[in-house]
Assembly symmetry: D2
Homo-oligomer: 355 residues x 4
Amino acid sequence: MKALVVKPGSKGVYLKDIDLITENKIKVKTLYNGICGTDREIVNNKLPFVRPENGEYLILGHEALGQVIDAPENSKFKLGDFVAPMVRRPGNCMLCKIGRQDYCIDGNFAEAGIRGKDGFMREYFYEDENFLIPVEKEIGELGALIEPTKNVMKMVEVFQSLKNRIIWDCDDSTLNCKGAWIFGTGSEGVLSSLVFKSIGFNVTIVNRHPLPENVLKILDKNGLKFFDSSSKNWKEALEENPMDLAIDAAGSADIFIQVIDHINYNGIVILFGTSGTGSISDGSFITKIVDKNLSIAGVEDGSKKNYIDAAKFLFEYGSKYSINDIITSRIKPEETWIFNEKPKDEIKTIIDWNL
Amino acid sequence: MKALVVKPGSKGVYLKDIDLITENKIKVKTLYNGICGTDREIVNNKLPFVRPENGEYLILGHEALGQVIDAPENSKFKLGDFVAPMVRRPGNCMLCKIGRQDYCIDGNFAEAGIRGKDGFMREYFYEDENFLIPVEKEIGELGALIEPTKNVMKMVEVFQSLKNRIIWDCDDSTLNCKGAWIFGTGSEGVLSSLVFKSIGFNVTIVNRHPLPENVLKILDKNGLKFFDSSSKNWKEALEENPMDLAIDAAGSADIFIQVIDHINYNGIVILFGTSGTGSISDGSFITKIVDKNLSIAGVEDGSKKNYIDAAKFLFEYGSKYSINDIITSRIKPEETWIFNEKPKDEIKTIIDWNL
Amino acid sequence: MKALVVKPGSKGVYLKDIDLITENKIKVKTLYNGICGTDREIVNNKLPFVRPENGEYLILGHEALGQVIDAPENSKFKLGDFVAPMVRRPGNCMLCKIGRQDYCIDGNFAEAGIRGKDGFMREYFYEDENFLIPVEKEIGELGALIEPTKNVMKMVEVFQSLKNRIIWDCDDSTLNCKGAWIFGTGSEGVLSSLVFKSIGFNVTIVNRHPLPENVLKILDKNGLKFFDSSSKNWKEALEENPMDLAIDAAGSADIFIQVIDHINYNGIVILFGTSGTGSISDGSFITKIVDKNLSIAGVEDGSKKNYIDAAKFLFEYGSKYSINDIITSRIKPEETWIFNEKPKDEIKTIIDWNL
Amino acid sequence: MKALVVKPGSKGVYLKDIDLITENKIKVKTLYNGICGTDREIVNNKLPFVRPENGEYLILGHEALGQVIDAPENSKFKLGDFVAPMVRRPGNCMLCKIGRQDYCIDGNFAEAGIRGKDGFMREYFYEDENFLIPVEKEIGELGALIEPTKNVMKMVEVFQSLKNRIIWDCDDSTLNCKGAWIFGTGSEGVLSSLVFKSIGFNVTIVNRHPLPENVLKILDKNGLKFFDSSSKNWKEALEENPMDLAIDAAGSADIFIQVIDHINYNGIVILFGTSGTGSISDGSFITKIVDKNLSIAGVEDGSKKNYIDAAKFLFEYGSKYSINDIITSRIKPEETWIFNEKPKDEIKTIIDWNL
């Protein structure tokens, strides 16, 4: 079968013919893969922790939707079922043992398509049924978004936990008076803005430059505000929508400081971007974190529960929010240039194995 | 009566004779006041938000222990009771209305001895009984530590809330396997280290220079480890005691980065220092917050519940932990030089109104 | 306009012509009302706490969907919007002040159509916009189910809170291994079973007699198990689906004992039925509550947040779960016999004001 | 060495000479054992689940304080240390694996002195250091109360969790306006009343008959109210102290109904008594649980954390609350009549191995 592989330690990606060894597990035919920044970084040999499962090649791909084409007897799945595979696999720590490998405390986990386990950019794969998420067939190509959306679902879980620090809801028990600000307008930024809108927030999405038409269209359709932070009209934007929750999909120190400066008392900050850029010239940001009783959480990966919630969100809100508009290109597996070149106005590119 | 006053907007502190106007409240005779960095900053006109209650002078002092010398009928208190007054007084926001003015969301609160309300460095004061904490008489001069200790009790409350994000206790249900690192060796640092020891943590206290004898003695007596971070032997210190919880009493960006670098997966960081110093040259600290699923909280002030817990802690652990050793000087009200000059080896200086 | 009224203190219900006095609020045209057991009890003068808002008559009806036909300027709503009104209105207790009148601690609340406030079984009503829930138009007659479904959403909220007592999820982070048992097959029982299925439970619905065809059809369509408890084959039924969560929509002591006997260790029991029947011959049920570390919660009413979640559930799952099948009859306002006679195989009857 | 043994399946208790086989564990000399109702029920063959560890005899005793007299190298304990052993030992379920065998979900645990593991009523025992709680020597014979007090500490933990269901504290953030009612005046009832007083409750302790002098003296000394429920003056007693939290140490259905009838809205009920007596003639108690949004929890056993908190409570509050008054007799191991005859006015009897 065909598979997209990389050789950890060097640049490049190749569509290779490889053998699939039969296992007593669920056999899955890949339908779609999502492509994300991590894939491009792996292909460009920028992530030091990438390592193969066996031999010297690693099969790429951690975002996938597939269909069951063979299953052992007594399996939970049957032929034709749609499934999304989980990325991170548990090690032996206490958190891994209770199904929370997303909170692994010793780093001894594997991640499909990234470290120590072959990924899903290939025609077929065998998988343990416990790491497959059942998905409604009607979800179609939106199923390729389950993996990135599960991160957003973990953000919701973390938000729900952090807000228990104190009474945080509005005085009518809802979130109607609260604003969520999402920093970053890539696919995870847009998905985050839709998910937090769905739980009741007024949402502002932020970038430091004007947005392309296709992103603006999604925001308009769904009643999301956009703020171009290069305009520096913070006061006006905060009057339109207060910042009570901030979600940073970017990971730069500059944005972090903007958040700390502008967020309300008792604000909650969720960090999941990892660009690692920028710097902070002045330690007074700590004083602000203290004075405003802020709560800040890093959010990495997600649990099986978060995958299931992601699949539900995409299924339930797919048409209401026109989530398909997030998928901006569909390509064939052999179009490997995609890993080196980001299409203009890309929000999300997916590989369609039926093309 | 005599009172220590400042004139907001200019430097200096004066022992003045002022009139005490009778109110239908509890009359309290001041026994002790604690002196803290905030008092010294007020005297040196470094805090822009300081404002008088009436006229142009503000009576200084927010840390106090007093004794009831007069009380209206049907009061909860009787003559001779020991009491500690609360600093922050509620405004009208939802959090203030439920007794959580420490989480005030609009900034419209007053703080005795700091902003909009006269403080307790005076012979007598009248106080609403709802803002007086009942204190066991046996507490003696340790009662002057209730106010700073209530901040530590809020830290415990915030820690207990943040750790609900995920299963955080050791696999025997305790905190025996967990390390707390306290950054800062002033009175709040030392108090924090004792409080977190009392709830089960292995505690390391950190400063960037060797400690004076009197601080070392307190640490030794109570089984607290000390780490001189200028030695840079982090690896060794972390092997002795892992960093799962970090409490920063300093507020510098440099220490913040040390914490983010060295804390474990799922670590919890409590910030309450406000020095506002230092800088961060590199945005990769955000990547670490994300990858390690860290939770970070600013902690400001505390609630009445936190004051009560502080009084209990000081009463119960006073002799066990020799907490009296934290009080390094006792001075008279007229010794106003203390606001301009920190005694060598000071941990905590208190004013004793009976001297 | 026409309104269905009762005279508290005596039996009977009347379709009367009454005047609607203009108020500076949202004017709503009633589309549908749901009829529930409480309405029938009011009409039959069985509830001692029923009282009028003004005069001697009370307008009946607390389950409603309406459409905005007039709105003051600057209102959140515009002409044509669909809305569902809230039933319980806050008093002055601390919980009422933070929007949780469903947890009112002094009983000084009003309830539309029940106590101290006219209800919604009338052609039009004026309403404060803060007590109107915005509803998607596509929801259609399912909107009449928002009010009863908000109780189920509060059950979910209470369940989520109670399960924090200890780690409760399965060892893969989901609820896939957990069974919820719903006792009662009326509309709230069926709605509960669908809601708890949607959050991941395996659901068994229980009654002490065989079910009519139309209820069975809903269960079959949605993969819900049915257990006829008169068959007494508990062992078999519990092997098919373990009882980890039990929801009692009935309120009889006999069912309570069945739940306590059969539920698993660390089980959660939600009570919201109020039939008040049955008796318990033997105090050993308390020993079982202790030995199994059970958690039991009574759940009354719901908050605005719960209404919003109810509207979302009905909108999102309406067609997936064929929730329309729950509505078994649609009648005209003048068909007042419905309050004295329950149609055979009724799950839910609604009044359609356009018939 | 001497040991008190029973033969499960028949009545009687015997002081036997038995061999102690050396193990590579901590060797502990028993100082004190507490005697409780469970011990008397075992001796009278009333508990069907009692079973030996080996052979046909079981060494009795689950409440103990001991002193380390031998320890392997690298042990956490050293000669002379005081220790209290844990009763319940984990099986293999998920809760047992994370140190919460008190919430064991499959019943496959052992309990020293009760089921499947020899107890501590003997001169010496070997114990795994992980199941020994370190205790301050100054605790003296109060150490015999650690085991029953750990149950109370779990009650506190459960209370803290249940009250997160909604905002529950008073509007000044404390518990000052809240009343806790403890039903039962045996040792666990009295210990519960002291513990819940220590966390801020106004406490009423209840029994259905007048109390002996020695119990009244403890209540008086500590400011606990007593209510004789046979007097039926509930109204007056509830005016003196409202019932917001009820703790039932008895386990009878009659008391359960009294609690449900008299507790406030949003009340919390903790059950840990297991007498299993009484009956309920009327199902309307369920309606009250619903209408008042009550939360009810059974509480069984406790975790290592709860033991540690118990040891801390007894050490810190021992003299403040004169807890020694709870120990009403000290007997020798050979006085086996104690298991068949409860001394008049007994609160707690302990075996002193040095007598």
